[in-house]
Symmetry: C2
Subunit: 372 residues, 2 copies
């Protein structure tokens, strides 16, 4: 068996106070530690406008830069002071929400020791959180919380046990007769099964929606989708069969056996972001008897001719950031509706191909699932 | 509420093949990637004798060293080749098992981008695994696996929801009438509630013991013990009350309410490593009605006079590495036995104050729990 390591990092953040950004060009000096810093670490810091400020100790280094920012070659160049401490601030504000980044120190890529780590771009990157005006929906609040569990499910097709994370709503397990629908939720290229929990805060988004009575509680299953790994820019080499087999033939049966699920098509949804959306589209169309809710988050569109028979298809949900291709998503939904599909589009204002788009998409999608 | 972030990292490793080390001084060139590397990363590498080899890209750096090794100032100095790649091998073999480490690049501390991250010494450090002759007991095997879940429990005393990880044995939850004993298992100074899962592989150790029929299955609860944080070397400033309140007044009731536990003293154990052992000793003696199995792993000893009434105390387990103070542990157990206690000592051969000592201690302890 191949040597491998799997790591789960689950992250919860407590949202701090938030001021609206000024429009007059001055940088507000209300910098605070990013909520995704390692315990006790002051830097990196973020301000209410979305600027990020970095501080790195490397007294003998000759150059230190940060991959985040709007600087000349992209990123932020830091400058060293007399104490050997490198500091710098992004040239402009970042989009609200989560961003991956790393440092380049004397030509080598390293993480920022002040920040927590998040798996993306096929490595554990540093992460930073820019305060968002609507961040309350993914905050850690004083409500009943669900659990997120690591399960190891047997996979004959890949010759090992594979990992998935399963969110169960508050109260799950107390009443043995109560059964739940299931959303299979996929990450994007270069990410892994920790993304939706760590970067996405899926569990906190669900806890809060359930506390507000806005959704029919359901289980979320998150596993690794890049079973057949491809390099960035080589998406055409991706073969869906490996992951499709793991998901449909191995994971779904495992979940239905080991969790209190309503194990039928009308209580099973699939959603994915970016490459996870591509996988969702491919698998839902290859296996039309498995899911009845399809959601692509910055992950493509469906056309009416894609779906041979949509009698049992309850919803197609397409979303993206306003800085992506919102017209494409809206037009696709209009076309689907004209053809008799139940279709919904959502555009996240002011965000691009990044995690706040997808947190907001989950917020919009969840209330639409499993209600009929 | 204070801004904070909590991150869980759960790590599973698949053990590779293992050769016994040679005794003749030559370095075996059978280096393989450490099983704790990030996906796809070749370095750091380890060989069958316990040597570790590092490779870091930082072409313009002036100095790169690794904190692990037996070099002059402790650690391993790397040297740069013509391609700007820094490499080096530890001067001697490391102890078997898990080690924390970090890089120092031009005077700044950074993690090794090839390695996964593990929380210890109050920061997310890099980690490396030296193959152990007995590593099979914590390997990922083709057996039924338990789950490890993140729970968020309300804590009035600290004004927030706090995180714990709960290992449930395979089959947990299927039979609503089946109830389980509970082990409360604490980490050491500078670590957190991820340690026993990530560094310790507690879940895999339990899965394998259960598959072999060697233990009475139980639940393990792992939470953060440094509620009142102290700096290294300032242990005398530690006040137990904060954590004692969280554990006894908040976490235990939450676990007993939300999990199928046998909620009484004779089915509740507490164990801890290092500072977690100090906490275990203090709390078990402050609250003698709560636990009936006490285990200190490289974490001190009990004397007969510590325990006023040991009628309900079923076991005291004391362990350490052979490179620590094994005579102290053995002598303490002899004294306890002479005074009529059921006491057991365990010494891990060839290890020091490090995680293989504690994985092995859990292996020895688990079969002794909850059998009477």
């Amino acid at each position: 068996m191949k040597l491998f390591s799997l790591t789960l990092a689950l992250c919860m953040v407590l949202s701090g106070s938030l001021c609206f950004a000024q429009a007059d060009g001055a940088i507000e000096e209300d910098f605070k530690p990013s909520t995704l810093n390692q315990p006790g670490k002051e830097y990196p810091m973020v301000n209410s406008q979305g600027y990020a400020r970095f501080r790195v100790e490397a007294p003998e280094a000759q150059s230190v830069s940060v991959s985040l920012g709007l600087g000349g070659r992209g990123g932020t160049t830091l400058t060293k002071n007399e104490e050997g401490v490198w500091m710098g601030t992004t040239e402009g504000p970042m989009d609200e929400g989560f961003h991956y980044y790393h440092l380049t120190i004397d030509g080598g890529v390293f993480n920022d020791p002040g920040a927590l780590n998040f798996y993306g771009s096929t490595r554990w990157e540093s992460g930073i959180e820019i305060p968002a005006h609507d961040q309350d929906f993914y905050a850690l609040k004083d409500v009943l919380h669900g659990n997120v569990q690591q399960v190891l499910f047997p996979s004959k097709s890949t010759g090992t046990s594979r990992r998935a994370f399963v969110y169960t709503p508050p109260g799950y397990g107390k009443d043995q007769t109560k059964r739940y629908p299931v959303l299979y939720l996929q990450h994007g290229w270069g990410e892994d099964e920790t993304a939706w929990s760590n970067q996405g805060h899926a569990n906190l988004i669900m806890d809060n929606l359930i506390a507000e009575g806005k959704i029919k509680p359901f289980i979320i299953v998150m596993t690794y989708g890049m079973t057949n790994e491809v390099r960035w820019g080589h998406m055409n080499e991706f073969k869906i069969e490996n992951f499709q087999t793991v998901l449909v033939d191995e994971l779904i049966p495992y979940i239905d056996t080991n969790f209190s699920t309503i194990a039928d098509q009308s209580h099973r949804a699939m959603a994915g972001l970016s490459m996870g959306g591509m996988e969702t589209k491919t698998i839902t169309l290859n296996k039309p008897e498995v899911f009845s809710y399809y959601a692509l988050l910055s992950g493509g569109i469906y056309s009416p001719e894609d779906v041979k028979d949509h009698a049992k298809l309850k919803l197609i949900f397409l979303s993206c950031g306003s800085k992506e291709r919102p017209d494409g998503v809206k037009k696709a939904v209009d076309t689907l509706k004209e053809a008799g599909f139940n279709a919904v589009s959502y555009v996240s204002e002011g965000t691009a191909h990044e995690f706040l788009t997808w947190r907001r998409s989950l917020l919009e999608l969840a209330p639409l699932l499993f209600k009929d």
